[in-house]
Amino acid sequence: MTTTTASAESGERTVRENSPGAARGPRRTGRIKRIGLPYLLLLPALLLELLVHLVPMVIGIVMSFKELTQFYIRDWGTAPWSGLDNYQVSVDFDAPVGEALLHSFLVTVAFTLLSVGLCWLIGTAAAIYMQDTFRGRGLLRALFLVPYALPVYAAVITWVFMFQHDNGLVNHVLHDQLHLTDKPSFWLIGDNSFVALLTVSVWKGWPFAFLIVMAGLQNIPGELYEAAALDGAGLWQQIRRITLPSLRPVNQVLVLVLFLWTFNDFNTPFVLFGRSAPEAADLISVHIYQASFVTWNFGTGSAMSVLLLLFLLVVTGVYLLLTSRGRKTADV
């Protein structure tokens, strides 16, 4: 990518020199314009990212070192410094706050691994099964994208209805119709809530994997399959030897994106359980939200967020390092 851009740039430069547009103004402003133009084009994006993401992030880090309770919200700068107190509270796993955070973190890790794994598996299988044309393929593809297209709250609220204890579909099917349980179960409180959350998350998340893998499949050159077929490889072998290895670069990005989205997911648990999630499904985003907005203790909430960010940074870094190295050797 860099080489092509460079050649295009030099090509563009010679063109500009001869073009009538370049002769319009004095040469110097022309050059400034040319150097400044990319920055000018980037400026709006840059300013907004600064305002909404980067500056708040820096402030968040500063806040995590302050004793920031509701009294200081209007004027957070005056909140007293508290050193590492907020961090100590967060990682003191023997005390209730730290213990709850650790528990929430472990729940989130387990949930994320399961959800990403299932989403990837279902999405990839569906994309590969639907690679060849067959009757109804277009319709099916559209149907499969519906969970992804539905607004989160509309979809999740439907699941809330389905998981209701007395009038929900899940209990009706499992208990009344299939008699699998002795009595109707609670799905949105207690230990079952983890299963409920995972179900909704996979239902909502797999179409994205499907979409990306489907796009990735289209970039695999058809000659590869032809060559393999000539060598006598059957369809299953073609999938194992050509399709899956060719999808590797796509998977590298897909799995990372799925991981980050699932780990940080707030919308699904928040609509599913409301402000306070059951312990078994206490995802970290909701946990921090609650620690901050219910107790109005922004300092501790920020410290927890910073710890979360550090964790995600480390995981992403290690992941990219490992997968890129594997990819390079595979490419050679």
């Binding site: 063109v15 133009l37 840059l46 989160v152 709250y153």
Partner: protein
Amino acid sequence: MSSTSSTARSPMAPPRSFLWSRRIFLTLLTGFVLLPVYVMVSSSLKPLADVSGKFRWLPSGLTIRPYIDIWSTVPLARYFVNSLIVAGAATVCSVVIAVFAAYAVSRYQFRGKRVFTVTVLSTQMFPGILFLLPLFLIYVNIGDSTGIALFGSRAGLILTYLTFSLPFSIWMLIGYFDSVPRDLDEAALVDGCGPLGALLRVVVPAAIPGIVAVAVYAFMTAWGEVLFASVMTNDTTRTLAVGLQGYSTLNNVYWNQIMAASLVVSVPVVAGFLLLQRYLVAGLTAGAVK
């Protein structure tokens, strides 16, 4: 980008095992995907008694009453308008800004290019919760010191949402613009267009599928967001994401109305998405997946 419809995999007919497993897998998956959709549609046409008692696969009687009542139980029309304004404005701004930024990255060599792309992309991994609290404070403080009401206003929400879709949009459009032949904009430059003219008259029209895909993505992101909407809106600026929770009162949960309202708020996005999904797949193929 060129072959979006199909790739020839095997010239031979697929083996039996493949066809059978495909049939079973796709049938189960279709059931899983459609179950909530069926519940949503059928329950929205049931009388309240049907959704308050034991679940019924088939309604005891069909009624369109829920579709009439949803508008008066909560001020749904107002939430709807709020969501439309917020998501619409966020989409337009996000797309325009992303087009400029992606064009700069795709066509120019400049210092800090890599830093920019990496920084913008890495904002995707920030947990929303990390900047929710500071952003909340920044908006409150900006309001206190300058009188510009960002907290609780639609403007604040628009500003926030457009940055959510921006990184992915820029990333996807860079890939898309890279696939538009450079000869095209060079020809435009020879013809006397400035760089902006080349962008608007040549590159943008050639990249329409990618831009549509990005717009769909941006709209969906803004339309479905819950976290910031629940903190940053008040009674007059509330969006659908929060407003939909109003159908449960202390005494009763109007499940039929909730389902009807969910359906009504989903129709614009789902219809738009399904109409434009071809572009999205094409856009992803050219842009994100390379």
